[in-house]
């Protein structure tokens, strides 16, 4: 197992190097001159040149790249010019916010989508199958920001059930001491029940927004793969042997139908993590998606590079975890390095 993990990680290194090179070149190819941007509207040509020198942008591209690579090797992602903070710190502070939101959204989505998919597969053509179809089609066709805005409008503005969409915690609560960076866990560790409730109620709307969006692939995949498994011979055998329908569906069919669902889950997760920019914007969520987009708009290289690199690393790790999960769920899947 360990050698397998080691080998997998080794294979990831060339792709990470590739990511470093490509992001570096891509950000340099962006239009816009960061020196002019940060020199301000009133800057003279000399002032712009001064800033260019300060940022090291007057050096040849290859030298800039080696400097960047050696900084990276020392764990230095550079400084963001727009927020004025080191990129590594910012990503460390913001990643948990995005991860907490995405995970919760995914959990909500799984809780709804998998039973829905299973039920739809066991009773094809019934009302629950149609419900599944309608929900998933609606979920995937509503743009995320639209769902988010509608939810805010109804539950915050109209009904007043939900707290103000002002980020992770009500403004009058203090942030719990950081242990995991997940407020739901940190507030519990700090035994601050009120803050926990606040953090949870702040999370509900954005998590629901994400869940609505990710419902479709999970439910459809569960349904399709359950249908295939339910039609297979071992299920017929199990039924013929007089096992109860629940045992047949949950123990025999569902476990065998899990593999493609897990693959979909991993894709949905990484997709959500990167793509919840809009949700973050709507709910003023201090996550990495909105951070990266803002950086991109002001041609701030370092955060963009840091973001892409972080996502690449997460992707590699996620794939590894999924592969390991395969083996746990289905002993027939044996991993060769």
């Amino acid at each position: 197992m360990l050698t397998m993990i080691g080998k997998r990680l080794m294979f990831a290194i060339p792709s990470l190097i590739g990511v470093v090179i490509v992001t570096f070149l891509l950000t340099r190819a962006l239009p816009g001159d960061p020196a002019a941007y940060f020199a301000g509207p009133a800057a003279t040509k000399e002032a712009v040149e001064q800033i260019r020198k300060k940022l090291g942008l007057d050096k040849p591209l290859i030298e800039q790249f080696f400097r960047y690579a050696s900084d990276l090797a020392h764990g230095d992602f550079g400084n963001s010019l727009t927020t004025g903070q080191p990129v590594a710190t910012e990503i460390r502070n913001r990643l948990p916010a995005s991860a907490e939101l995405t995970l919760l959204g995914l959990i909500v989505s799984i809780v709804i989508a998998i039973p829905l998919g299973v039920l739809a597969a066991t009773r094809p053509g019934s009302w629950i199958d149609h419900l599944c179809r309608v929900t998933t089609t609606a979920g995937v066709s509503l743009p995320v920001f639209f769902t988010g805005l509608v939810l805010v409008y109804v539950f915050y503005f109209r009904l007043g059930w939900s707290p103000a969409p002002l980020g992770r915690l009500d403004v009058f609560y203090s942030v719990p001491p950081t242990v995991t960076g997940f407020y739901l866990i940190d507030t519990l560790i700090a035994r601050d029940v009120e803050a926990f409730r606040s953090a949870l109620s702040q999370l509900i709307l954005p998590a629901t927004t994400l869940a609505v969006f990710s419902l479709a692939p999970i439910a459809r995949m569960t349904r399709a793969s359950m249908l295939a498994v339910l039609a297979s011979e071992f299920v017929r055998t199990a039924r013929a042997s007089g096992l109860s329908p629940a045992t047949v569906i949950v123990t025999y069919a569902f476990r065998n139908a899990m593999l493609p669902v897990i693959t979909t889950l991993s894709m949905v997760f990484s997709f959500l993590l990167g793509a919840n920019v809009l949700v973050e914007k709507v709910f003023a969520w201090p996550g990495i998606g909105s951070y990266a987009v803002e950086a991109l708009i002001s041609s701030d290289f370092a955060p963009v590079q840091g973001f892409v690199l972080t996502m690449a690393i997460m992707y590699v790790l996620l794939n590894l975890v999924i592969d390991i999960l395969y083996g746990v769920i289905d002993p027939r899947v044996r991993l060769e390095g």
Partner: protein
């Protein structure tokens, strides 16, 4: 964990999640905190807490204004609609107890009990160090200081612990006002020097992250892009102790949500909303909406006069007659702006700026002028705008495009991303564009010096050069410095007239700064920098 247990725990979690969706009960201590706390929501936040820093953005100015003191500040007067408005011509001491203006210098006596946030007394040494810093760090602060002829550290002289003299390089009416803008703030020199390094002798890295001043507020927490929290400085001597104890400033990128937060009563103040929202909020009367004109600011259409066809004054006049002025006021601004067009024919030029010009939408005249210039069949051109302000710029440019099409002028719209806009302006190659300029110092000659003078500053976006114009602008500056009112008036009228006949840029309107706040918030003041001054505000 077995799968079944897992499923159970997951559904348990989901049930738990449904409960706290109800509004949480707020303890009484928190209710108290709310009444003394100001919650501000805006789109963007500061990127640097020190205005002397490299590339500090406009929200950063607001922090500096409230957390640092200057030697002097402006008095207040009653402005449009009874809103307190800074008085351009009257100054009062902030850190200075008293000041005396002589022929070639000004002497400040410091308040003896003034203290920095860390308890160190404010001395003349700190004042000199801070002003030296402002004229030496380069970039925007140094540039702003030079606008008041403050350029050399030798100009700032320490007389004793509590007395400082500022020597004038030359007579300049703008020197005193320039000492009351945001830039010449007084920094805790000992504290910053301790945290400076050889590479960073002015300690910019240190003051970027924390405030080191003597101002009415100090930043206690700053998460870039998310929030700024400021607490009142109980020992502030720059003025009466502010009523607001704590300011929480949250960044909410979605304009719709900012409006919802205001209307639900959760946020106290917001700016940077679409004009339509402001107009609707004004109409329904649940909130206080203050709309005041930018002092010395104009949105305009600029034309590059170095290249055909706009090198021909007839073409420029034709364009000025073809602008859909009223449509822009109605459809883009929803009336929230001062028209800068259509003055009556017989109206005499005033000694004031901004003032409306006499062009009006008149397509017949425009057509006639265009054929006189030899472009009867029109031409092709590009109109550019800054995407950062697309809310106003985009509809405005579409209206202009539509209007010019009636003259046979085919216009392509070029949307320039915010990061590129300054680069593009600096290149001075865009033939036709829209932009805003607004000067901190509210004097006509200041505006014209930056926007029309032949020394071709970045704000002279049209590359306009005229010997007659330069003579009038320089004349007005000299006349102002020596106090020759007749010559000054003649020169100001002269350059305004010339700017309107030569018309290298077409003034459209004077934009409004719009601020929406709860009814229980009082004490909003208009400042030249157009940001909030928390010191005068009160809640309840």
């Amino acid at each position: 964990m077995k799968r079944r247990d897992f499923l159970k725990s997951v559904s348990g979690l989901a049930a738990g999640a449904a409960l706290p969706a109800m509004p949480s009960v707020i303890s009484s201590a928190q209710a108290d905190a709310r009444s003394e706390t100001l919650l501000i929501v805006s789109e963007g936040g500061p990127n640097n807490l020190d205005i002397h820093g490299v590339g500090t953005n406009v929200p950063g100015y607001e922090v500096s204004w409230n957390c640092y003191d200057r030697l002097i500040s402006h008095e207040m007067k009653s402005g449009p609609g009874g809103v307190p408005y800074y008085d351009r011509d009257k100054f009062k001491g902030e850190l200075a107890e008293d000041f005396r203006i002589d022929d070639m210098s000004v002497t400040f006596k410091l308040k003896k009990n003034a203290k920095f946030h860390d308890g160190a007394p404010v001395t003349a040494k700190d004042v000199k160090w801070s002003l030296d810093r402002a004229v030496s760090v380069g970039g925007f602060p140094t540039f702003q200081m030079s606008a008041g002829s403050l350029t050399k550290p030798e100009q700032f002289v320490v007389i004793d612990d509590h007395t400082v003299r500022v020597d004038f390089l030359k007579k300049d009416k703008l020197t005193i006002p320039d000492l009351a803008v945001i830039v010449p703030c007084i920094v805790n020199s000992e504290l910053v020097k301790k945290n400076a390094s050889e590479k960073d002798p002015w300690g910019l890295e240190f003051t970027k992250q924390q405030t080191a001043g003597s101002g009415a507020y100090k930043v206690t927490k700053w998460t870039a892009g998310t929030e700024v929290i400021m607490e009142r400085n109980e020992d502030w001597v720059g003025g009466p102790l502010p009523k607001i104890k704590r300011v929480i400033w949250r960044m909410v990128p979605q304009a719709g949500n900012r409006r919802a937060l205001l209307e639900r009563g959760d946020a106290d103040i917001s700016y940077e909303l679409p004009f339509k929202d402001f107009q609707e909020m004004k109409a329904n009367g649940k909130l206080n909406v203050v709309s005041l004109p930018f002092s010395n600011g104009i949105q305009y259409i600029g034309m590059n006069v170095t290249k055909p066809p706009f090198d021909n004054p007839k073409v420029r006049q034709a364009i000025a007659y073809a602008m859909p002025y009223q449509k822009i006021m109605d459809a883009v601004l929803f009336g929230l702006g001062n028209p800068m067009f259509g003055a009556p024919k017989d109206k005499a030029t005033e000694v004031a700026w901004p003032q409306p010009h006499k062009y009006n939408t008149d397509m017949e005249k425009a057509k006639a002028l265009l054929s006189e210039a030899g472009y009867a069949n029109g031409f092709e051109t590009t109109i550019s705008f800054d995407l950062n302000f697309a809310g106003v710029n985009e509809p405005l440019c579409v209206l202009v495009q539509e209007s010019l099409a009636q003259l046979g002028i085919k216009t392509t719209i070029n949307k320039v991303p915010g990061a590129n806009w300054r680069t593009e302006l600096n290149k001075k190659e865009m033939p036709l564009f829209t932009n805003v300029f607004s000067g901190w110092l509210d004097y006509p000659e200041y505006f014209f010096y930056w926007c029309y003078h032949g020394n071709n500053s970045v704000f002279n976006t049209m590359s306009y050069k005229s010997a007659a114009m330069d003579k009038l602008i320089d004349g007005a500056r000299t006349a102002a410095a020596i106090g020759d009112k007749t010559a000054y008036d003649a020169d100001v009228k002269g350059f305004v007239d010339l700017a309107f006949t030569d018309i290298p840029r077409i003034p459209l309107y004077q934009p409004f700064v719009n601020v929406a706040m709860q009814k229980n918030i009082s004490g909003y003041q208009y400042w030249f920098h157009r940001r909030l001054d928390y010191r005068a505000m009160a809640k309840g």
